[in-house]
Symmetry: C2
Subunit: 499 residues, 2 copies
Amino acid sequence: MAARSRGPRPLVLSLLLCALNPLLSQGGKLLLVPVDGSHWLSLFGVIQRLHQQGHDIVVIASEASVYIKEGAFYTLKSYPVPFRREDVEASFTGLGLGVFEKKPFLQRVVETYKRVKKDSALLLSACSHLLYNEELMASLAESGFDAVLTDPFLPCGPIVALRLALPVVFFLHSLPCGLDFQGTRCPSPPSYVPRVLSLNSDHMTFLQRVKNMLILVSEGFLCNVVYSPYASLASEVLQKDVTVQDLMGSASVWLFKSDFVKDYSRPIMPNMVFIGGINCASKKPLSQEFEAYVNASGEHGIVVFSLGSMVSEIPKEKAMEIADALGKIPQTVLWRYTGTPPPNLAKNTILVKWLPQNDLLGHPKARAFITHSGSHGIYEGICNGVPMVMLPLFGDQMDNSKRMETRGAGLTLNVLEMTSEDLANALKAVINDKSYRKSIWFKRRFIQKKMFNSLKAHHLTWYQYHSVDVIGFLLAIVLGVVFIDKMLRRCQQALGKRI
Amino acid sequence: MAARSRGPRPLVLSLLLCALNPLLSQGGKLLLVPVDGSHWLSLFGVIQRLHQQGHDIVVIASEASVYIKEGAFYTLKSYPVPFRREDVEASFTGLGLGVFEKKPFLQRVVETYKRVKKDSALLLSACSHLLYNEELMASLAESGFDAVLTDPFLPCGPIVALRLALPVVFFLHSLPCGLDFQGTRCPSPPSYVPRVLSLNSDHMTFLQRVKNMLILVSEGFLCNVVYSPYASLASEVLQKDVTVQDLMGSASVWLFKSDFVKDYSRPIMPNMVFIGGINCASKKPLSQEFEAYVNASGEHGIVVFSLGSMVSEIPKEKAMEIADALGKIPQTVLWRYTGTPPPNLAKNTILVKWLPQNDLLGHPKARAFITHSGSHGIYEGICNGVPMVMLPLFGDQMDNSKRMETRGAGLTLNVLEMTSEDLANALKAVINDKSYRKSIWFKRRFIQKKMFNSLKAHHLTWYQYHSVDVIGFLLAIVLGVVFIDKMLRRCQQALGKRI
């Protein structure tokens, strides 16, 4: 059977080109400073498109890069760093493995903090070795680039752009700690805009709004460990005071790999361009191998399963639980998994090292999608109208799955706590209960037409909108604590005097 | 000579259709509730485009409408009102004539207030006669419309939409008193977003920010006279409490006939679509008459002059001053003017009752554009890269010309105070000083590519951004006045006691 007609998204592509082209001359030169890992993979469609438009693209990456390699549509310039590819690989693997470790909450937080600190030191060192590579920087300065395209998740690209005095375009999904709002100077009322990682929706109860405010207040401290070293490095290299705000505020245009089909309504700024779902645009026919799998699946169709590029191995016990669940449904499951195959793998489950995710989801036999709910996968699910069982692992994945679940487009499971039964039931639900497919097809229609959400105004009172009640509440707590503390001291003094 | 290639603006058009199409079924039905006057004229391109897409369009208008007439691309349904077309015409003429009356400031304010009150009562009565026209409303309810498209400048359309329980799309340039920000619940910090009619830019001095804040505070009262009667009418018709905010907040999508090539950067909301310059898209070859004028102009080329559809007559003295100025330049001037021809009209000046403004401006011989700086004309000037001499008359025209002048795309003159010499000098400047053409061609490039402005973040401190200094200053004044008042009373009392 031929795949349903699901054309590219011309408007999203033209938005992208409209945002980039003015910065490029005819047959322009673009310098790309990417972030390794899944962040790099999502740039592919953009690079291809810019290449087709006749632009020259130069990618700079450290020699220890794991994913960034030579490619057909760009020139790779790599520079030496004092660590090996294996070290970076280990940090990625650690990220994936860490997810499955059952440890007490506080221990997890401390270990995560330590890992983030260590990993980001590694990547910061790569940035430093790029900026202090006089030869490479001189050759870049002479190359006559029109602009820099970079992912500000690790803000090395902005420093390169400032050093070369070039306009810079950001390409990202979102930034932690509201750094994207800070960088664009975009208002973001905590009364109805959920902070990243808060798991809040745009309709919050009073206590959720208190949580949102507390996250906002604490974000500054949390992000310091990763981001302020880049400001120090930039100050050193540029020989003037540079803040994180300066780096984040340096972009002319922000290309967001999201939109308001996925996200909740919120204020935006005119230089934000929403190109969510751009990764769905390029669609190819299935290879013989996958075509054969799909055809053999019969009337039940297939389930596509991937936990993303960052997870290579799952602990045996968990993998067996998952394999058990997959065996309980009549669909053929195509599971992208590079680890040791679980011994109890059922007949309907096919392990593959890689799968053409978007093409498979676009096949009319796709019944469900098991995903870690990275933004990429979420959009491929929406564009192709396939309901999802979401197993979010880290970062913004919890927020993504929350957004999908609250809109009825899928079900979320906690990968650590779920049983084999939970997963099987969730799969059966999204496959057999038509409401999930209906919800996601509704979203698909929105995204295909680049539709503007019928955004209903929030119904907050003025004091709720401006968080007056939340601030009052928190202030009352602080004053209460101070008051009690003072009373206790007085009691102590009084007692002391008596004694 | 052939006109320079200045293609349509496909992205603006696709944005428009993307915003509207999702609300319309295939070959959908759209109900259009327009506002008479220049507001109606700017809808033409949109109607034509929707008609081409196979949508049915029904326009409702009172029988006393001046500009809204039968058309090729839509069905007109008109309803009776207890006043004549001449009454509406008189209110338009009064608006145009009032501009040229030299009167003391306070008298002008009072007279403007009275005229606005009278005119808006007339138009409100039309709305009331539409909503209480049971037969027409019933036939509309049965027509199976998909959506309502309306200009909320006079919010009759939103009431019709609420009455028929249809989704509504707003089509506008801007609303007075920040009602557009209120309706979309869009943040609008008065520290760097100039209020309509303030003549402020996005970089304000302390005193300009105080002025901006004072305008913000007083807007509520000023707009009440026009807008709250619509809320009362809506409450009556819908038999529930309806506020102006309810009416303004009822739109799914807001189509703004502006963009950030003309306007300053500011927060926006995801359901705002900026289709500024959509009126430049349709371009036709010149008629024989105008082609002949242009060809006869020789190397000096032409100047296009129009004060818009609302000005039909200019006081004789002023018209003679203008005619004198026009005679001082070597260009041929095509002046759209329906009043009595000034007796001193020079040979180079041709009076016409109507001119194909966009097509003339698009001709390579167009050297300058004298305009009242309505948003329409401003965009036609930008799209065609013709520098402007701006004579703003009322409404947002002062703001428009301010935006253009601060960016070097033209010169502004006060039509009441300018001398013949001033106008001639301004014309010579924009024609001969290359910097004006350069500035406007820069803007033209932006708008043709639907380019995103390289928006630099404003450089306000946190207390400036949140207007803490302005609020403190105003509070100090209020407290100062209260304090002095109290002291005076005490003195009085003390004196009273002594006596």
